[in-house]
Symmetry: C2
DNA sequence: TAAATTTGTTAGACACAACTAACAATTTTA
DNA sequence: TAAAATTGTTAGTTGTGTCTAACAAATTTA
């Protein structure tokens, strides 16, 4: 069994591997807001438990065991988010903070029950895939809105960031999963994008378009 | 904010005060399965935080502040148990272990939502009162089944112990909250009691009758 | 009431997970 | 390629919450 701290490291390494492929001590340190020496020594501990491969000055990688354990924590997180939204009536912007805590609950029964009551969902409220109980996860193969070109018609399939602030911003612009939009123009200077959807026409910055995943229509 | 360890001490002191009025270091040590020196030093810490009153060799008591904080943790525990039984379909014997973890979640919104979805319940699935959001709790004034006399007709209003083993035992004998029963005989030697209810007639030990609370009919 | 038992405290150690300060390796850039 | 910047490690400290061993106070009982 892993400690709370270990679980948080595993999750962060998993997320960073997903984003960048390789994970440096420095990145992990910044992501977790934990100083490098602490991360360094934790890596030795996780390597000892055969959850990561790690040699001094080399990148960190999850082992297969570590990958599965990380995926199972993410499974609990995403099932919880889905449960909170679908069964308890929370908004998608409210659930991250709660799921961040409930993901550490030790009770296979609780999460099996959520899964069952939800009808075994494939995606969480932010469009991210929920790993199955063996830790397998269908990879998202959607592209960032920021990589789309003028004139394209796209549909929002997921959001990359689940913070309260970001999702409240999207709520304010009535942007949600499944929304279809047309890309009107793209400002080369700063990457800001003008989009139209329903009766709206909005210009959004690249900070936003980087965090929205879409599929082509 | 209190740590996980501190919350568990507060809860245990609250429960022991409820049962015995006063709490000794020794009792707390046994209840929590933590050695006396550790309890002793934690009492100094809690006294410093103004959560308990404590002087060496004297009994421990919760301050008003400590009492409220303990009650709010118990509120979260009991709301969770009720939610798990009523909304998720768990048996009353399955929920203690899960609630024991969820009671430490920091999210007033989550528990407010449970409360609302449950229709502001007064009692948990074991018949124990749920403290309100200011920490107030209606005292149970029921008596132990073990204190009842032959010939009395009583109704089960609560169980004192919520362990999986005890409740599974009761399930096996089809004993549940609200059940009405007649006390046929009481064995003076060991306190075992013969009761009848519905089509059943059972003899149960004082270990069991001590853990069942009833009201007279 | 003196001895025995129970209860509680003090002192010191340990594991965990964080930190800072100092130094070392690696990578970038001038 | 040498200097500068970045990244990472080592060594030592801290706070939390646990422990054991030894001693001290309080209570029970003979």
């Amino acid at each position: 069994m892993n400690t709370l701290a270990e679980e948080n490291y595993l999750k962060a390494i998993f997320a960073l591997m997903d984003e960048n492929g390789e994970v440096m001590v420095n990145e992990l340190s910044q992501r977790l807001a934990i100083k490098m020496p602490t991360v360094s020594s934790m890596m030795k501990k996780l390597a000892n438990k055969n959850l990561v491969t790690y040699e001094s000055y080399k990148p960190i990688r999850l082992t297969e065991k570590g990958r599965v354990e990380a995926a199972l924590i993410i499974r609990k997180h995403r099932l919880t988010e889905m449960y909170l939204v679908e069964k308890m009536g929370f908004g998608w912007e409210e659930v991250h903070h709660i799921a961040e805590q409930i993901e550490h609950i030790q009770s296979p029964e609780l999460f099996a029950k959520m899964d069952e009551l939800l009808g075994f969902p494939a995606l969480d409220p932010h469009g991210s895939p929920i790993p199955d109980s063996s830790g397998k996860m269908i990879p998202r193969e959607y592209q960032k809105l920021s990589h789309c070109k003028t004139g394209e018609k796209v549909k929002i399939t997921a959001v990359v960031n689940t913070s309260h602030e970001f999702l409240t911003f999207l709520n304010g612009k009535q942007i949600h999963l499944g929304l279809e939009m047309i890309i009107h123009s793209l400002e080369p200077f700063d990457g800001s994008m003008t989009i139209s959807y329903k009766e709206n026409k909005e210009t959004i910055s690249s900070v936003v378009t980087d965090r929205i995943l879409v599929e082509q229509l």
